[in-house]
């Protein structure tokens, strides 16, 4: 059975990536195992299909282990068996097109949100998206953070029209569930309870190569969204002040100090904003 290289590789890829196993996929393709024996050498120790199955087993195991590492809290919620079935379905729907294993799981949160598991654990999509965001922020672009000294050099008359720019390694997630509580529980091995259902904005950022997260209230969420939209500092104050009430000026100063301390803003006015904001389902 002589196949062109592309035909051979397509056939092998289909068999290796089948989560049902090589034999089942062969039946699905109406291919007898003898056909594979005509392509691949078998011997007394291992037949051709068994040899191919070594690759199929390794394929699934390798990607499963990567995704377990990327989504430990999601795994803790579902347990090993359900997670394994989830990943089998996911890889069938989203075979990797990424040179790096980092990219393999990037569609998993959306996949979960539409999966039947979302009926059993309605917060699971939020949780997976938060775990994915931690990875993306970890690998996001570097940029020098804006410093207090830089801001202090800006004349008072320019502040109203001043535009601030978010650091590339900053993201805000809008969640329907307080899934951030589950991240700390995931590693403990304890039972994972359903988190409180409450709209929550979670800020994720990287500073000095470490990834952090915290909840932000409505005013800070609004302010960060306006920065992302390249609105001026004046417009930001105007929008946020009514949310803060009487102490608005001090609150905004405090917010700005915290952003500078955490490195949420980038230095340089000519950079495009890259804040990631994901609306949760």
């Amino acid at each position: 059975m002589e196949l062109a290289l592309g035909e051979l590789q397509s056939l092998l890829a289909r068999l290796i990536t089948s989560t049902e196993g090589v034999n089942t996929q062969l039946q699905g393709d109406s291919l007898a195992p003898e056909k594979i024996e005509k392509i691949i050498h078998g011997d007394g120790r291992l037949g051709a299909v068994e040899r191919l199955q070594i690759y199929a087993t390794a394929y699934f195991h390798r990607l499963l282990e990567c995704l377990k590492e990327d989504y430990p809290a999601t795994l803790a919620v579902t347990g090993e068996d359900v997670f394994r079935a989830l990943i089998a379905a996911y890889l069938a729907a989203h075979p990797s097109d990424s040179p790096s294993v980092f990219g393999v799981g990037r569609f998993l949160p959306d996949f979960i949100a539409h999966h039947w598991l979302a009926g059993q654990w309605p917060f699971l999509g939020d949780l997976a998206r938060l775990e994915r965001t931690l990875i993306e922020v970890f690998h996001a672009a570097d940029a020098p953070p804006l410093t207090a000294t830089e801001l202090q050099h800006i004349p008072a008359e320019r502040w109203d029209g001043l535009r601030l720019y978010p650091h590339p390694a900053v993201a805000i997630l809008d969640c329907q569930w307080r899934v951030d509580e589950l991240l700390d529980l995931a590693g403990t091995g304890g039972a994972i309870a359903t988190p409180e259902r409450r709209a929550t904005a979670i800020l994720v950022w990287r500073q000095d190569d470490e990834v952090y997260r915290r909840r932000v209230d409505c005013s800070e969420r609004t302010a960060l969204a306006l920065i992302r939209q390249s609105e001026t500092f004046g417009a930001l104050c105007e929008a946020v002040a009514p949310l803060l009430g009487a102490g608005a000026v001090d609150e905004i100063k405090s917010m700005l100090s915290r952003w500078l301390r955490d490195g949420l803003l980038r230095s340089g006015e000519n950079q495009k904003p890259q804040l990631l904001i994901s609306a949760m389902r």
């Binding site: 051979l8 990536t17 691949i40 070594i54 690759y55 390794a58 790096s100 294993v101 690998h139």
Partner: protein, 302 residues
């Protein structure tokens, strides 16, 4: 100057893995060089790149890829090559290597190193693509023999003939993975000594050494345990044939403390020095000709 002579002998190094980032950057351990998995650093920013910057300032590095898919029937991935080129420009590796295999088709990546049929047609296909990559990068690359669990009836030559033919036609180097030779020799029943003795010395620039697991009917290239005695003996044979050659210890799963890897690199250095000394003194007791009879010599090396 032969192809091999265009490259420095880097000595004895280990793979740079995430588990050792802190140790390596804080202690600057006494190993000669580091090899990175290129794709692990194809990210926009963050700690891996910061660590690599620091490591690069203290050690030579080599960029070793797993997703070039040089044997695929797909067109070369231009986006991947752009990223590879950018990394090479930034980190200035001693050289760039990848595997003589295919890793995907139809735009999909199987994240595995899959073997090719050993035919003249595939030699031409792969060699032409290596030349394209080398032209794009502006530098020669090394290709590594992979461990395999299947071979194709369409093959018309042995694996070592295929590796040699591709390297000659592409004018590229060979990263000879000694453990892979041993694993594939067991899995397919060929003579590992014949393999080592058949690869053109002027093309071999680097060795890989790693551990594998024994599954009874086959060996699996797991990189998760110490290098076994038989692979060390094959390494000593390779050193006698090729001379002192940059050697890299790979360990990718069940990763131990850095000291274990450093000790393996030290052991490689000692074994290489002893093997070369024995060769010089003519006391190695084995001719290691290019024939299959030499297979017994592997058992007699001790």
């Amino acid at each position: 100057m032969t192809f091999r002579e265009r490259f420095s002998d880097l000595g004895y190094g280990v793979g740079l893995r995430r588990e050792h980032y802190r140790y390596v950057t804080e202690h600057r351990p006494a190993v000669d060089w580091f090899e990175i998995i290129t794709e692990n650093f194809m990210v926009a920013g963050g700690r891996p790149l910061a660590v690599l910057e620091q490591v690069r300032s203290d050690y030579p590095i080599v960029m070793h890829g797993v997703s070039l898919s040089i044997g695929s029937a797909d067109p070369l991935n231009r986006g991947y090559l752009d990223a590879l080129s950018e990394m090479a420009r930034r980190f200035k590796p001693a050289w760039i290597s990848d595997h003589l295999c295919w890793t995907g088709i139809g735009g999909r990546n199987l994240h595995d190193l899959l073997p090719l049929p050993y035919t003249d047609e595939v030699v031409h296909h792969v060699a032409a693509r290596i030349r394209q990559v080398q032209d794009f990068l502006g530098q020669p690359i090394l290709i590594e023999n992979v461990s395999s669990y299947m071979t194709f009836r369409a093959s018309t030559m042995q694996e070592w003939e295929f590796v040699s033919a591709v390297a000659e036609e592409a004018d590229c180097g060979i990263l000879l993975d000694i453990n892979n030779i041993y694993v594939s020799a067991f899995n397919h029943g060929f003579d590992p000594v014949l393999y080592v003795n058949s690869v053109p010395p002027e093309r071999v620039v680097q060795f890989h050494m790693a551990g594998h697991s024994d599954h009874g009917t086959y060996l699996l290239d797991t990189h998760d345990r110490p290098i076994c005695a038989e692979v060390w003996r094959l390494y000593e044979l390779a050193v006698r044939r090729f001379g002192a050659t940059s050697t890299l210890i790979e360990w990718d799963d069940n990763i131990p403390g850095f000291g274990v890897l450093a000790d393996a690199a030290t052991q490689a250095r000692r074994r290489a020095q002893n093997a070369l000394a024995a060769k010089t003194e003519g006391t190695d007791g084995a001719g290691f000709g290019r024939t299959a009879e030499s297979s017994r010599a592997l058992d007699n090396l001790d």
